[in-house]
Amino acid sequence: MDFSLPPEYHALRRMVRDFCERELRPVIRQMDHEEYTPMDIVSKAAAAGFMGVPFPKKYGGAGAGEIGYCVLMQELARWDASFSTIIGAHVGIGAMPIYIDGSEELKEKYLTRLAKGELLAAFALTEAGAGSDAAGIRMSAVREGDSYFLDGSKMWITNGPIADIIVVLANTDATLGPRGGQTCFVVEKEWDGFSVGAAEHKMGLHGSPTSVLNFDGVRVPQENVLGQVGLGFVTFMRTLDLGRITIGAAGLGGAERALEWSLRWARARQQFGQAIAHNQSVHFMLADMATETEALRSLVYRTAWMVDNHMPFTKEAGMCKLFGSEVSSRCCDRAVQIHGALGISRDFPGERAYRDARISEIFEGTNEIQRIVIASELLQQEGVRIRP
């Protein structure tokens, strides 16, 4: 049994860390305070090869697999969850469906450019009436000759305002629903009828833009059907399975950072004539943070290893998302508590991290949905089939 990461992942981590310190750090406050998305830093991240980390070299990627991608997301989220969300939405759920189910033509046309960061992607599933009930989408795709015409609106789309291409799910046969009636399409932002709606103003992740996307009779050529007609829901669910692992990795980065801040402050802050690091109440918080963080690290990297070794991972991926988001929220909460009044000051980066962490318990499948996924997998092994 060997739990060590091969050296290339350490080198990748060191490079991402240098990048964050030099390029990202100076703009983090501005991103949060002004809801600013630093497109120049996104371009620099692309030049450093961040957008292609998990993809094979033949598509312009680094070939670092899911483990490498988890290293990237963990390090980015240590610094700023908004930035890791921009990269994650692009790589993990925007470009990933093209990689897992796209035709060779689609991969050549889009994936190589997405992996180099020449194009940015978004993943559009959620609608006003379809959130956790992802199969309940209303958006329609009607076939006419060699094309499909898309009508409807998507909501809460991460990277919506900055994406060049959108991977979108629509009903090709509403009577069949997710089992044969939903199809996945790749849409370019310049196409007639596509427009970006209002941006959301969120509690956290201020640097990561989120918006409504409108599709008003957008004509999509049939080459841009992603995967098979009618099986789009499966593509979307497989994509989300993978995305869940990296939410765990990002949660790990956030939790680690919260612990670092807390350790530093516990040593520095003097009360009752000594550093608060001597208080047992603080010990308990630090110990819980460290224990949960280590448990999360093991879960995330083992699950990534399962993916890279072609093992089934749906249940573990749900656990990564569930546990990762909760650990990161709990660690940020304790960091705020240890910092006292400073903890809620906007001068303390943990205040931002606390707000940023909350959404990860909701997006890419709420934690309630994750529990259903995990339980369904468990019961399925016992021969009990759960239908949501």
Binding site: G49, G63, A64
Partner: protein
């Protein structure tokens, strides 16, 4: 244009604490980094290559772990890596180090430009560049901020207390760079993975391959122990208007009438 960059690896100073009272340096985290001035030299070499064509060879000397730092330079875009693996510690002596590096440069084949850092962050000796240049009989451009090559000449700019100097020398030449000369580029994710998965990315030699008689490896420096500079008396702060300060300064310096 064939460029050779000589690099050194040092303990990451951010993992150390200096305790003045105990007269000791405590190493809390034993991590090694590419010497910052050498990192500037790598970046300068890549810039010359990108402008003039050619290739960049990284030469590192140290224990096995020096290969890590060579890989870092390769992931930034350097073309070849050569490691001289010395586990004996003999190369801590600047004279030995310079002789072995000069031998490695000769072994690496014909070259136009040799670059290295102008100092090593740990010992701060500043000896390697000039020593290697002397051994190879090369003109030396020391502590220059930029290097550019045109036809058969290298042009460099050096910042001084009073301004900038432009210096030039015919190729082949050795130049050294300070740690803040440029902003070294990041390695790319793809190159990092390639460099680590290619077992032959860095060629390894031992000092015996370069110095079969062992003559070059005999040390010239002897350590006389470690000490701290004596604490200095704090100076006197002069306050007041410009005229008052000037008057007091003249008196303090003993220049008054």
């Amino acid at each position: 244009m064939r460029i050779i960059v000589l690099i050194n690896q040092i303990l990451d100073p951010s993992g150390m604490t200096v305790n003045r009272r105990a007269q000791q340096v405590f190493v809390n985290r034993r991590e090694y980094i590419l010497n910052p001035a050498d990192l500037s030299a790598v970046e300068a070499a890549l810039q010359v290559r990108d402008a003039a064509g050619g290739d960049v060879t990284i030469v590192g000397l140290g224990p096995e772990r020096v290969v890590e730092s060579i890989r870092q330079a390769l992931s930034m875009g350097a073309d070849q890596g050569l490691a001289i693996i010395d586990e004996s510690g003999a190369a801590a002596d600047p004279a030995v180090r310079a002789r072995l590096l000069a031998a490695a440069v000769r072994k690496a084949g014909p070259f136009d430009l040799v670059l290295t850092g102008d100092r090593v962050l740990d010992s701060d000796g500043g000896q390697i560049g000039p020593r290697v240049a002397e051994l190879l009989d090369l003109p030396q451009l020391i502590s220059v901020e930029t290097v550019a090559c045109q036809e058969n000449r290298a042009e460099a700019i050096r910042s001084t207390e009073t301004g900038y100097q432009r210096v030039e020398a015919p190729l082949p030449v050795l130049a050294t760079l300070p740690p803040d000369a440029n902003r070294p580029r990041f390695g790319t994710a793809q190159r990092i993975v390639n460099v680590y998965r290619d077992q032959s990315a860095v060629k390894c030699l031992s000092p015996a391959d370069l110095d079969p008689t062992g003559e070059a490896s005999s040390p010239q420096t002897r350590s006389g122990g470690r000490g701290y500079p004596t604490p200095r008396e704090p100076g006197t702060r002069l306050e007041g208007t410009v005229e008052e300060i000037t008057g007091r300064l003249v008196t303090a310096l003993g220049l008054g009438a």
